[in-house]
Symmetry: C2
Subunit: 337 residues, 2 copies
DNA sequence: AAAATAATTGTAATCGTTTGCGTTAATTTT
DNA sequence: AAAATTAACGCAAACGATTACAATTATTTT
């Protein structure tokens, strides 16, 4: 039982040349139907599969896409949702014959982009960079090297890059708008880091909504988006505006923190204060009361990014595109009825 | 600026042969210190990095490990925790110059293991198979092919395989034991699928604990371990044993479901019924009351599996080993004080 | 039926490394 | 100082594909 036949062996058995084998393998023209069938059936019978390395070497394409996240995504972040993004990207890419190389990087290696082996050693055909904490230096380096890449939930300020984003502005606008329509008048926004596009956009959405309704804008800034940061932001908000009656948090984790503080202070949710989150992570259904939030299509983000990336790989001169994925308001109980 | 120098170019610049370059690259003997230094500095200056594909072809080792999960892990499962396992494996492997190829497979491709491209095309040096729903056919096939592999949270019944498991027996024993010590006498176990090792072991742990204490064994079987299945299992339990005062669930999701049902029936937790989960997923802190559970070291599972896998790759004749990772009781409020 | 054209197939170079083996130069031994 | 040993290095053949290009054969055209 020969473990792994090569093209040479198949060719020999059929009395044809390796070129012919290669041609039928790759569905290339120039081989008669008769021989094609013979080769095909021999391949199946012998259990032939092309050697990936040899193929990569010859074509200089590896069939691998690196999915890059920052270490913090699974360390410090509660209920990370990149797994769903990966799942989306993976299932799409698998259909196209691509595989995913999963990498999480720390700040150190982000500062030395040359040392990123996956790219340096030409193991991958392109990059999906997920999350807001991929350093600009890292991104710019790879752009300058002409490495095809797409960012998710992040974008460069001054350069043109392919990226797929949520409709953060629209989502937060709707969330705030909803609270306003329900009669809330003192709505505060618990913002995430200003360096993140998503934070800024969500902030803009909130600001627009309150301004459209001629309500005051009340924002507290946090430097991360965790439960803990939500708690301290909420405390600060209560101090500055004791009569607030609505909260929009930059994400669900912060909203959960906010709800904890409110509950501890004896405020009834949603009766006294309505709360809105963003992202719709799994946890959101478990809080008391269940958290109203803005759903983002995590799986789809992955699919969209992968799709775009393959397009760019196929034609590197494609101009950069910004894809915006819609959101959907999820009304549970924390926002009132 | 020549984008990517090859060994040939370096060799030419220094007036040496490619063999020499290769030797210093791989720290092999047979090159004078003087030349070694010259090569090293030229490499650094020219930004040389070996071509992964060429290397794989020559050595027939790819430096890639496939991390395989079942599709259901991110579709149907609430709060999947394989991301943490991946993180552990990834960080360990990165240190050893390996990368992770992430794959999720559906039942169909599991039934046709030959079609698993990552292995068939020799793109990976080994497999980490995570979770209980990797089909035996899939595993046996790769074992028969001599593909180095390690399983996580799963094991084959009759064959010897490398696997890393949690101390499910011990963990559940302690959990049940804890409830018993707190005076509970009617403890029911909400079991997961009997096909899963972890379910069976947890069941054994529970059974041992109640039997040691001469208490009756009361088990309800569910065919999945979700919130919903926890709810229906709990309903069934209440029907059969209306006077129960303690619940051990096969995992946190089921525990959450159980708590919902209990709360809906007006039972006070933990006063009337104490509840214990298993796994310590992030959600466990958010329930009301916060869920007591058995912590498993998710990250460590990944590290251990990766470690073992590299050992096996280095020496394929290594006999299979079963690694058991300890657990830790986490007492929150659902189990009483 | 000969000439022109098109379709099929083979030859051989190439992709960038690694590595066994032979050669040369340097070192040690007697 | 000649012989024997050792170290340093280059040559060239793998590894297993892909792909110009040439060569052959089959099909049309006139």
């Amino acid at each position: 039982m020969s473990p792994k036949p090569t093209q040479k062996q198949l060719a020999h058995q059929l009395g044809v040349s390796v070129a012919t084998i290669s041609r039928v393998l790759n569905d290339k023209p120039g081989v008669s139907e008769e021989i094609r069938q013979q080769v095909l059936s021999l391949m199946a019978q012998a259990g032939y599969a092309p050697n990936g390395a040899a193929r990569s070497l010859a074509t200089s394409r590896s069939g691998l896409i690196a999915f890059v996240v920052h270490q913090s995504s699974h360390d410090t972040r509660e209920d990370p949702f990149y797994p769903f993004i990966v799942a989306g990207a993976e299932s799409f890419l698998a259909g196209q014959g691509y595989h995913i190389l999963f990498t999480s990087l720390d700040d150190e290696t982000m500062q030395k982009p040359q040392s990123f082996a996956a790219v340096a050693e030409r193991r991958v055909d392109g990059l999906i960079l997920a999350g807001p904490d991929i350093s600009p230096a890292f991104i710019l380096y790879h752009l300058s090297q002409g490495v095809p890449l797409v960012m998710i939930d992040n974008c460069l300020q001054n350069s043109e890059v392919n990226c797929v984003l949520n409709d953060d502005f629209g989502g937060e606008y709707q969330a705030a708008r909803h609270l306003i329509e329900k009669g809330r008048r003192q709505i505060v926004f618990l913002s995430g880091p200003q360096e993140w596009v998503s934070s800024r956009e969500r902030g803009r959405g909130y600001a627009q909504a309150v301004s459209d309704a001629r309500l005051p804008s009340r924002i507290v800034y946090a430097d991360e988006t965790t439960i803990a940061s939500g708690e301290s932001a909420m405390r600060e908000a209560l101090e500055r505006w004791p009569d607030l009656d609505g909260v929009c948090a930059a994400n669900d984790a912060m909203a959960i923190g906010a709800m904890r503080v409110l509950a501890a202070r004896g405020a009834r949710i949603p009766h006294d204060v309505a709360v809105f989150g963003f992202d719709d992570i799994g946890w959101a259904t478990l809080t008391t009361p269940p958290l109203s939030t803005v759903h983002v299509y995590k799986r789809q983000l992955g699919v969209l990014a992968a799709q775009r990336l393959l397009d760019v790989i196929a034609d590197p001169d494609l101009p950069p595109v910004k894809v915006v994925s819609g959101t959907r308001l999820i009304l549970r109980q924390s926002s009132g009825d």
